[in-house]
């Protein structure tokens, strides 16, 4: 997808402007030389960024490294941030790019780790197993979604982004993001309950 191809240094102005961006003041202060403003941005966004990265990178420590790398890139590029998108969606895009770049560099290693984890995992209690089955089934269904639908669904549901921000990150119109979200949910229902009405 194109959204993954762009590097943070060549980000184009995004289509929608977030009217009241709570991070914009921090970005402005940073541009004026206030180094502490960046620390506030880190405190505000490190947790959601790590969660976003963790959906791509399956080991916690690696996800932390990638998140850290994303913030370092943001630090270098923040002075050139033009405010065409919200600071949050700008950070998310950097994080997604970093995660995908990491995946490209560690593809074999990542696949091997997942296999090892499956072999060494401890057996869950029966109650956990039922809940775990639901959770696993949901995650497995999400993993089967087409990439664009998966991206839109996760950004919307797990990251609580507005459709406007989702559209910025998915590089589509807001209406297209809404439609993709609809088909993602419909496809999940089909995968989970055998509903075959989805397109």
């Amino acid at each position: 997808m194109d959204v993954f191809a762009a590097s943070p240094s060549i980000l184009e102005p995004l289509a929608h402007v977030t009217a009241a961006d709570p991070d914009l003041e921090l970005a402005e202060r940073f541009r004026e030389g206030d180094r502490a403003a960046f620390d506030q941005l880190v405190r505000r966004h490190q947790k959601p960024l790590w969660r976003l990265v963790r959906r791509y990178v399956k080991r916690d420590a690696d996800a932390a490294d990638v998140t850290q790398q994303a913030f370092v890139r943001a630090f270098k590029a923040l002075a050139t941030f033009r405010g065409a998108a919200s600071v949050r969606s700008w950070l998310y895009r950097i994080a997604i790019n970093c995660a995908l770049s990491w995946l490209r560099d560690h593809r074999r290693e990542e696949a091997s780790e997942i296999a090892d984890d499956a072999l060494t995992a401890t057996n869950p209690a029966p109650a956990q197993l039922i809940a775990g089955e639901d959770t696993a089934a949901l995650r497995a269904a999400i993993a089967q979604l087409p990439p664009k639908q998966k991206l839109v669904l996760e950004l919307r549901v797990f990251d609580d982004l507005s459709f406007k921000e989702v559209a910025e990150l998915a590089e589509c119109t807001e209406n297209t993001a809404k439609v993709n979200f609809h088909y993602a949910v419909k496809k999940l229902r089909e995968l989970l309950v055998g509903d075959h009405d989805a397109p």
Binding site: R43, R51, R54, A64, F75, V179, H182
Partner: protein
Amino acid sequence: MRRDDELLAAYVDGVSELTADERRHVEELLARDPALRTDEAQTRTLIDQLRSLPPEGTEPDWTAMERAIAGEVGDKVPRPWWRPSWRWLVPASALALAAAVFALWIHAPAPATTPVVATPSDAGAAPIAPPEDELATMPLWLDGEEVEIDLAADELLEVDRALLGEDDGLTPGLLPVDNLAWIDELDVDDIEVAEAWLGRKKG
């Protein structure tokens, strides 16, 4: 082709983000289609399930991560490469422009004393100075001062050509500045003609 219900999930999970038209459209569909209402309920349940999914993995030590990031980026706020430039670029450009205008004013060439001839066919091309024998005017020494003479003027023909030595390569009818020997050879009539012409010229 777009389906009517494709905004249903967005309606369920973000009705406030739909436009008034989109909202009204979905509500009309829901009002007349019981199956769609069932869809709406199932969609709502599924989205609730998705939102209640626990995050994957174990969260890191956020304070440690913050310290690590701060340590890696350092204390100096990076500046865009162009920013230090444009701050002095404006005054520097203004200064350079002023200097250029001043230099042009100081070294501006005096207006050309030799006229240039342009023919209609040369319109738009750079003017070319005519050859020496095609000069339109020529400075001559007359009555103690230099006078610009129109070479095409008929009155010059009144000067005695014999006095000018046409065989010497001089332009017929002209009295050269650099050699005034011809003055001694003028007779009274010639002097009268010359003085009369000079009088008209000074006029």
